[in-house]
Symmetry: C2
Subunit: 108 residues, 2 copies
Amino acid sequence: MGSSKSLYFSEEQNRLAGLSKALSHPARIAILQYLVKNHTCMVGGLMESLPLSQSTISQHLKELRSIGIVRGEIEGSSVCYCIDEEKWKELTEALQGLIFDVNKTCCP
Amino acid sequence: MGSSKSLYFSEEQNRLAGLSKALSHPARIAILQYLVKNHTCMVGGLMESLPLSQSTISQHLKELRSIGIVRGEIEGSSVCYCIDEEKWKELTEALQGLIFDVNKTCCP
DNA sequence: TCGTTTTATCGCAATATTACGATTTAATAT
DNA sequence: ATATTAAATCGTAATATTGCGATAAAACGA
């Protein structure tokens, strides 16, 4: 076993879990914060600000890209990353919905 | 390797990642939604609504408990679970901060 | 007390994640 | 053409997660 039984859960539950998984590592949080601060970035800048190797950072970026909240555009010989506003909004709205629902029920 | 280098990241980055990790499985999302719907619950009810074994559900609950967003109180021979409002608010506020920061920067 | 119910924990197997060095790929500069 | 730079990918090792059956623990009822 060990494989998550995604099929048995609703699409929304999987979407929320998927976004959360993308945010579930401090390096990926740091990458997002870096993108917010620098608006866009080259991977080189990340390498200076994160205690991780180039290949590891590249992997984390791949994960953020794979759910669509980060996008990279080739710019000369480097790649310029930025947050995909549309996708970010779409996904985080679902998350905010959950947060709202819990607060509404729990803390009236 | 394979161990996450949490020590090298800020407390806030780790807190955000920790909450996200707790939410990163559809079963745990489903558990939270169930708690919202039923306000409080016995594990028995969860067992009927989730396609997972009792021991697996117990493990997911343990994870939610371990970061504090879910609390269980012994009630007779069963345990009554509910969302810990304080902790939930505290943690989700940090997450909403990140969502807000991204939206502010990206989508003015 | 003995069985029942309810939940937690243990032990294990399968799979996923994290990390890094080495290598590859692609664009650019010399 | 060749070297340089930037980033992705490959291969591999360490560790974490997911899941379940079996077993333990705790409270209750007969």
